[in-house]
Symmetry: C2
Subunit: 230 residues, 2 copies
DNA sequence: GTCTATAGTCGGATAGAC
DNA sequence: GTCTATCCGACTATAGAC
């Protein structure tokens, strides 16, 4: 078993910190492109311009490096949605918030995820979010932290909003299902295949807005239907 | 480069056919569980109760075996939706089909996909559909046939229905986007992670119906909203 | 058609000099 | 901290007996 990522951190001096960073960035790209097995430490070292043993030195092992990459992505994801879920939380705390406001918060959350997945100006955007898809497939325990972030910082806050609209607790099965389906519409945008299917090479601001508008429309349509059926 | 899968087929006699089948079934399970790199030919041979060189003998190479597995899944997928898309096609051919009928066909298609992904009585259900998720991630050319089946037999027929509802051609960007989002709600059910998130170990008929009812509700809600906005 | 034995390759990790 | 050289295990694929 490995030590937790952050404990394995030789080199506090500037020189080592730079090497460490270069390895991490390269690993993100290569793990994203080829998966854990597909990316060899030799490749990573070569592309990063460091020597092979540097990986062992800085991250203990290949798996340690992988875990470090995952932790990085998880942090970024949590940070991005933090202000949105904080606003949603405060809204739900006030008693009897108007229905329209709850729906607005759900739309805002969904919008933020779309922006996060599609904003091409963010460095490493595509590489980063490929891992969100990978969680579904590779059942390594190393990916659990990312799964946890998704559940706690996105799925659960969304379920609280949907639950309120349905008049049920957030862990109710039907609430959970509906939440997953709404998020499913959005999750497709962290996949390469979908972009290829659309013929989108690059994504400009106009396209992000188009997607956001459409996701909003769907989400509102679903929420409207919720009123009757519960 | 390898010969196409179906050309590599020694043994028409009963004994060989059985061996071939056992390898194929085992490979499906192990590739599904561990991916292409993660499943070794040694493992497959051992679990199938055959010798290592049998894989080369029947499928030419490990990749040949992988392609054979993919072809099998693609055929099953196409067969499952065939009657539904045939009915939808005939509906669209008649001039001016009622709006409600077009929506019904879209719902039927979506229902069928849900049933296909969730029906636990089908042998190898879970193993089979894991690959549908894998297409998004692994960008091996070997997975292309499965991607093609999805696009031609599911995505495109769905887009034709959505396009009719929006009064636009099926290859219009907005039509395509909307179709992808509607299918996104459903596609989440071919992932292990989602089932784990719901705490569903087994899936009985009641659960399939619950999901179908909800997907239907969402799809109809979205289609209803389509009328105004186009 | 089925099998044993083995060739040939590659990848992760380490030893130890500087 | 960085590097060269090397070990060792695992893998795919093949040769050739039966």
């Amino acid at each position: 078993m490995l030590p937790p990522v952050n404990r394995y951190r030789p080199a506090a001096n500037p020189r080592g910190e730079d090497t460490r960073r270069r390895i991490l960035d390269t690993a993100l790209a290569l793990f994203a492109a080829n998966g854990f097995d597909g990316a060899s430490t030799r490749d990573i070292a070569e592309h990063a311009g460091v020597n092979l043993p540097a990986i062992q030195y800085y991250f203990g092992s290949k798996e340690g490096l992988y875990r470090a990459v995952i932790a990085l992505i998880g942090e970024h994801l949590a940070q991005t949605v933090a202000p949105v879920i904080e606003r949603a939380r405060r809204c739900l705390e006030s008693d009897a918030p108007p229905r329209a406001q709850v729906i607005n918060h759900l739309c805002e959350l969904v919008d933020t995820i779309v922006a996060m997945f599609l904003d091409d100006t963010l460095p490493d955007r595509e590489n980063r979010y490929i891992f969100v898809s990978r969680v579904e497939i590779e059942d390594t325990e190393a990916l659990d932290p990312l799964h946890d972030v998704w559940r706690e910082h996105i799925q659960f806050p969304a379920a609280k909003l949907v639950g309120r609209l349905m008049g049920r607790p957030p862990d109710d099965e039907k609430v959970l299902l509906r939440t997953l389906m709404i998020l499913g519409q959005v999750k497709i945008f962290c996949s390469r295949a979908v972009m290829r299917g659309l013929g989108w090479q690059a994504i400009d601001e106009a396209r992000v807005r188009t997607v956001q508008a459409m996701v909003n429309e769907h989400t509102r349509a679903i929420c409207r239907a919720l009123k009757g059926s519960a």
